[in-house]
Amino acid sequence: MQEASDEQLIKAAAAGETAALGTLVERYKDRVLTFMAWHFSLPPEEALDMTQEVFLAVWKSAGTFRGESLFRTWLFSVARNVGLGYFRHYVAKKAESAGLLFGDEEFENIPDGAAGLLEGLEAEERRALVRGAVQALPDKLKAALLLREWEGLAYEEIASVLQVPVGTVRSRLHNAYARLLKSLGEKDL
């Protein structure tokens, strides 16, 4: 079961194999939790409850996964819908004001590039520095970065998951990279 692909597992889950769902939960629980916390700007405890709702929705709608996209693209779409459903019911205004629903954003200014910013650092130090800089980004930029850099989604897929125009994905990612460059440049390495 551990070796099976995501797509095989979701099909097995649709056929009623609870162990398959369990494996998917183990594989994705932290990633979905982080996505919920970042994309919807939720505190961890609330994001955890929402994550549970996401996997319940996955369990119930496993049969609707047709394999036309990667499982993780589908999963994050389910997560986004669960989150948005929550916001629609309870705090729609918050979602709107957090820029979750609509709109391109401005491209931020980019600092002059200087290659080799992280040279000369020990690997652990470099990792800590980068992770600290990521943590300091606004939530919605982190969510876009998560889908792009660590989940490996194409930007069209990210637009589909987040239900925003491609231009918005581009500007969010652009701003994330620009802010990180600035932040790492200010470390005076």
């Binding site: 200014n109 992280l118 470099r126």
Partner: protein
Amino acid sequence: MSCDKDMKRDVLLLAAGLLPAARAGGVEAHLAGCPACAALRQAVLEERAALKEAGAPLLAAGRRFSVTPELTAAPARRFAFALAAAAACFAVFVLLRGEPRPVPGAPGGGMTPAPSGGFSVAEGSGPAPSDLLLKLSGRRAAPVYISGPRS
């Protein structure tokens, strides 16, 4: 030398794999003759490599987090429980406004007994309230940690 904002934006988008193909050729040509923009592209490529190496600073759901078939059935059972509770309230209401209101100790009196087969929580129709509360509170009690590096 520092190029204009639009060119720097396109250089960054190119390095991030986000520039539409139609604009990529022009930016590539510019990069060949512009050390500042070439350095910017290199910086973005290094930044992306560092991001991959560092891994996402994920939150951790904790080992107790799980989605079990038991829990997936919970909404239906919660509904059954709510229905049973509503029936109980209705039964109490009917009892309290029964006509005529019986007088304890009066001949032939005594409190009207609940009709047999009236409200009860059928075996297996839902969790006992305490179980339900435990389950719901247990969900919230799961700890959330910031994890170490993940990739």
